[in-house]
Amino acid sequence: MSAIGTMVSARGVVGQTLHELAAEHPHVWGLTSDVGDPIKAFAQAFPDRYVDVGIAEQNVVGIAAGLALEGMMPFVAGMAPFISMRSLEQNRTDVCYQDLPVRFVGWGGGLTTGGGSTHNAMEDVALMRTLVNMAVVSCSDPNMVGAVMRRSMAYEHPLYIRLGKGKSDPCIYEPETMTGEIGAGLVARDGGDATIMAHGELVAEALAAAEQLAADGIDARVVDMYSIKPLDTELLLRCVDETGYLVVTEDHLAFGGLASAIADVLVDEGVRPKGFRRLGVPQLYTGFGSAPEQWVKYGYGRDGVAAAVRELLA
């Protein structure tokens, strides 16, 4: 566990945590479809609970479902676009329909691979959260994935854990801040003038935006809605009540992800913020380039978020 600002590989945390959990729990398995590098140490220690099926995402999820039917707890390590889209029907029908405790750990969430639209995971939150029984968590701090994985040992349902690039990211929390509780949100920075809600890598961007706003005398709250489903509706409603304005940013299509989940709650509860903006990928297939460059291009990185808050408050 590392202090704020330290650079940590979330994929490394996945491997380390899986190794630890497997040592404690004989029913923990690790599966992958040819992207098993991060869980190599686990694979070497527990070769009889490791399967690498080659490049075959549908296959690996079906196998995970079979293992879970026999009482195992399989963690499927993969790339976010393929683990959400390629195997979608297996995710739904084999895993969710039977309400099995399969964990999908996907890295490369949003535009973080830079590999273009075949490799962007900009629909994954929308697709996964629409599946009945599936919980969706998106990690902002590289150590958060460890907390969620440990916590998930007591969670008996399907779970999607989304990571960003996951190679080297700054820690943004003190370790004990992250309970990994599924269904909770985290106030990453307090503030009373407006609330910025984000998940994954965009939480750090939202925090940077709040810094910019503070320089202008705007006191923005930043909420890490890492548990996109189930959503911490109590926290959401409290923030709207206390700060009035709400900006949601995410490395995902602007429609279908966290912002849509939030909008559903607000409409259903009959709650109307004083102002609401959603930022994210517009309805297009993005091109190449690094994620931070694209966040700027499509206006949902720190500058875009700060601008949206200023506009709302103007």
Partner: protein
């Protein structure tokens, strides 16, 4: 047998393609899929510079042979092979690859880069698309071929075999799958995790005609391509053809060969220079062995 001067030309082009890949891998800030690029150099050069009927100046000509890079992570290899043929501007590739708003990214995009037949990058998609192109050609009674280059690891995807089944059942004789059989993927080491043998027999079982070839011998590859039977939509015995090309991941650079750590990577200056020198040395060796005197020498 392919003409020695032609073999020499293709060997030189292959060496040039390797140099360009290495230079890009040296100066680009991110990782390049250099291992799989190197393993398909001779295949791409033999297809784009010898076997396929294509014209960069008239790249949408309906009579052209079609090419689908199903292993889309090898995009930069395809860009370079195509640029050497005159499709694209090499300097632009070298200067903008992977950058914001460049048409040349990690996986080929047909919309951003006309000349590419289909966007690919998610593995296991190319062959079904190629089958679609082949069906369209058959219905229009066109005589061009559809080539599809796949990674062997990619053929772990069920969709590959679903489309292989279709092509075999419908006897699509205008379809040629070329498999880059380097026996490595990304994390599943063949022989340790997956075992794909008996590989050619798998294709045969799906009613394909199989030809095996040394995927680094341009002469042998050209012989296979030159011997493809003419497309005959009325032949009831027509079969799709699988060229299983035996290759080496990272081919041509000793420190990369068969080292799966080089599936994707970037080179330090020192590594790049070492690798470039090896390309020159191996080309000289190869030209000497294949009668390098023909064509005037350099």
């Amino acid at each position: 047998m392919a003409d020695p001067a032609e073999i020499r030309r293709l060997d030189e082009l292959s060496a040039e393609m390797r140099r360009l890949l290495l230079r890009l891998c040296g100066h680009y800030s991110g990782a390049i899929h250099i291992g799989g690029d190197m393993s398909m150099v001779e295949l791409l050069i033999s297809l784009y510079h010898h076997g396929m009927n294509v014209d960069p100046d008239d790249f949408a000509n309906p009579e052209r042979d079609r090419f689908i890079l199903s292993k889309g992570h090898g995009a930069v290899g395809m860009y370079i092979a195509m640029a050497l043929r005159g499709y694209f501007d090499m300097d632009e590739i070298m200067a903008t690859y992977g950058q914001l708003d460049s048409a040349y990214g990690m996986h080929p995009c047909k919309i951003q880069l006309p000349g590419v037949e289909s966007s690919t990058g998610s593995l296991g998609h190319g062959l079904p698309i190629a089958v679609g192109l082949a069906f369209a050609a058959r219905q229009r009674r066109e005589s061009h071929r559809v080539f599809c280059l796949l990674g062997d690891g990619e053929t772990c995807e069920g969709s590959v075999w679903e489309s292989a089944n279709t092509a075999g059942s419908y006897g699509l004789g205008n379809l040629v799958a070329v498999i880059d059989r380097n026996k490595q993927m990304m994390s599943s080491l063949e022989g340790v995790a997956m075992n794909l043998e008996p590989y050619p027999d798998k294709w045969r079982a799906f009613r394909w005609r199989v030809v095996e070839v040394d995927g680094h011998d341009v002469g042998a590859i050209c012989d296979v391509l030159d011997a493809l039977p003419p497309v005959d939509h009325d032949d009831p015995n027509a079969q799709p053809i699988a060229i299983v090309a035996h290759t080496v991941k990272g081919k041509g650079i000793s420190f990369m060969e068969r080292n799966v750590g080089w599936h994707a990577g970037s080179l330090t200056d020192e590594q790049m220079h070492e690798a470039l020198a090896e390309v020159d040395a191996r080309l000289a060796e190869r030209l000497a062995a294949t009668g390098g005197g023909i064509g005037g020498g350099s």
